[in-house]
């Protein structure tokens, strides 16, 4: 019982990180039909910028803020200079965003150094506490709370605000939104920046969880974002939360019970979904054929 509880809690925590990483990707894909392979680059930049600010200020929350600001800024740069010139051309998008991922990862080495960095979360989030017979690691609980907070906040914005309404309408029919007098390019930009900020936040929270930061983080974990997005259904925001939790749990359980399959399990899951149910597991809407 103990082990099931620990594994589930851990799976949920990792799932929340995957959710933060994937949420922006799925929104951007749904709204703009752009698959951003550079998304992992935001993850690693968020991690390093957050750590830098955190070490300067000795305040974890200012680090969180730093990561978010870095995500917004780099997101804006990516949208303007990388995505915009190749808008509407899938092959070029794939090629260029992957190139940008490389550049972003390599720039980390220039700016912050190529070595692996040790990371320590603040003392009040470190360690564990007992709940009856169960031991709970504080930071994992914190991750779950943070993930849910971001999910609820974003869901609220999507459901209750005008900009959210426009985003939801844009996912369904961009052209009609424009014909109703809305400048969708601005909306794209905003969504891209917010999605990037989520990935950056995810990166910072992740390195505090794993205890180490290294420049290839983005390339290594970017693939999880794609797995989650595919499983959840491309463009489905709530789908990405469910898929992220599924992927997180699968990861943790397989690592414990069948470690030799742990790396493969999620990729196999994605392959199966792509081949059998390309619209994703958690969506009722079909994929657009455009």
């Amino acid at each position: 019982m103990d082990i099931i509880f620990t594994l589930t809690l851990n799976g949920l925590a990792i799932g929340m990180l995957f959710f933060l990483l994937a949420a922006g990707l799925t929104l951007v894909f749904g709204l703009m039909d752009v698959l951003n392979f550079a998304h992992g680059g935001l993850f690693v930049w968020g991690a390093y910028t957050g750590l830098w600010v955190y070490s300067l200020s000795s305040n974890f929350w200012i680090g969180v803020l730093g990561a978010i600001v870095a995500g917004l800024l780099i997101g804006a740069i990516t949208e303007l200079f990388i995505i915009k010139p190749v808008y509407g051309n899938h092959v070029q998008q794939i090629l260029i965003t992957l190139g940008f991922l490389l550049v972003l990862s390599e720039l980390i080495k220039v700016v912050f150094g190529a070595d692996i960095k040790a990371v320590q979360p603040p003392s009040y989030l470190d360690g564990n506490f007992a709940l009856g017979d169960l031991t709970i690691i504080k930071y994992r609980l914190f991750l779950i709370v943070m993930g849910l907070f971001v999910f609820i906040l974003t869901t609220y914005i999507l459901k209750k605000t005008r900009i959210g309404l426009i985003v939801r309408a844009g996912v369904i029919n961009k052209e009609m939104v424009q014909a109703l007098g809305i400048n969708i390019r601005l909306v794209f930009m905003a969504v891209f920046m917010v999605g990037s900020a989520m990935a950056a936040l995810g990166g910072f929270l992740f390195v505090n969880y794993s205890g180490t930061a290294f420049p290839e983080l983005g390339i290594e974990y970017g693939i999880f974002a794609f797995i989650v997005v595919v499983i959840g259904g491309m463009g489905s925001f709530s789908g990405s939360l469910l898929a992220a939790i599924l992927v997180g749990l699968a990861q943790v359980y397989f690592q414990y019970y069948l470690p030799s399959l742990a790396i493969a399990v999620n990729m196999i899951l994605m392959t199966a979904v792509l081949l059998l149910r390309p619209q994703g597991l958690f969506t009722t809407r079909g994929v657009s054929t455009k």
Binding site: R162, R168, I172, M176, Q178, A179, L180, I182
Partner: protein, 235 residues
């Protein structure tokens, strides 16, 4: 009388295909101008070009004496042109209310007044306010799309084949409502259903192979059997 909308020698390409060749027509304020012609004659592309959804390669589109040819679609919409596409363009996952709200640029009294007016015109929309747009019937979708296009201070509505795929009794209803909209706004209507077009229209233009070939008043066309036969396939 100066034209509200003036389309002058417009050429539009989609990929490498030359869809519109030298399309010209005028829309007089307060009138319903009907674009007629066979499938593939370029009627939809004409509306899309006016709206900025397809870009004209040459020629000009003037609205209220102002050049709007190269403007992006959202700016054209803000100038006061509403668009009801062939597929109605309903946001299926959004409720009827949300569909309306997306279209509302302002929340002032004038907009509220318009809202009230269209909801009186289409009481169904009020009934199904919280229903998802995708679950409406074909006729209700059409009404929602027209109502939505009217919400802003639009002086011109571009309506693409409102009768398409609807049962005759529903077509009557939609036709009625367009008749009433006519009191409020100028309309460019693309229509295959000649009966409907002839009931509502004031002026007609016939498109054939991507170019305007004939024009005149609707009353003229009603009696011109030769023209009807040649371009519209009506015996």
């Amino acid at each position: 009388m100066t034209a509200l909308l003036k389309v002058d020698q417009v050429d539009t390409f989609i990929d490498q295909f030359h869809i519109l060749q030298n399309v010209s027509f005028d829309v007089q304020p307060g009138e319903v101008t009907v674009l007629l012609g066979r499938n593939g004659a370029g009627k939809t592309t004409t509306l899309r070009t006016i709206m900025g959804l397809n870009s004209a390669k040459s020629g000009s589109v003037m609205y209220k004496g102002e050049e709007i040819t190269k403007l992006p679609a959202y700016q054209i919409a803000r100038k006061g042109i509403g668009y009801v596409p062939e597929d109605q363009g309903i946001f299926g996952d959004l409720t009827v209310g949300e569909n309306m709200r997306v279209a509302m640029q302002k929340e002032d009294d004038a907009t509220k007044e318009r809202m009230e007016w269209v909801l009186n015109l289409f009481p169904d929309l009020k009934t199904f306010w919280n229903k998802a747009g995708g679950q409406l019937s074909g006729g209700q979708k059409q009404m929602l799309s027209i109502a939505r296009a009217y919400l802003n201070e639009n002086e011109l509505l571009l309506i693409d084949e409102p009768s398409k795929g609807l049962a005759p009794i529903i077509v009557e209803k939609v036709m009625d409502s367009i008749q009433q909209m006519k009191e409020k706004t100028t309309i460019v209507l693309v229509e295959q259903n000649f009966y409907m077009a002839s009931q509502i229209g004031d002026t007609f233009y016939i498109l054939d192979d991507g170019t305007t070939v004939h024009s005149g008043s609707m009353d003229e066309l009603k009696t011109n059997e030769e023209l009807k036969k040649k371009y519209l396939g009506i015996a």
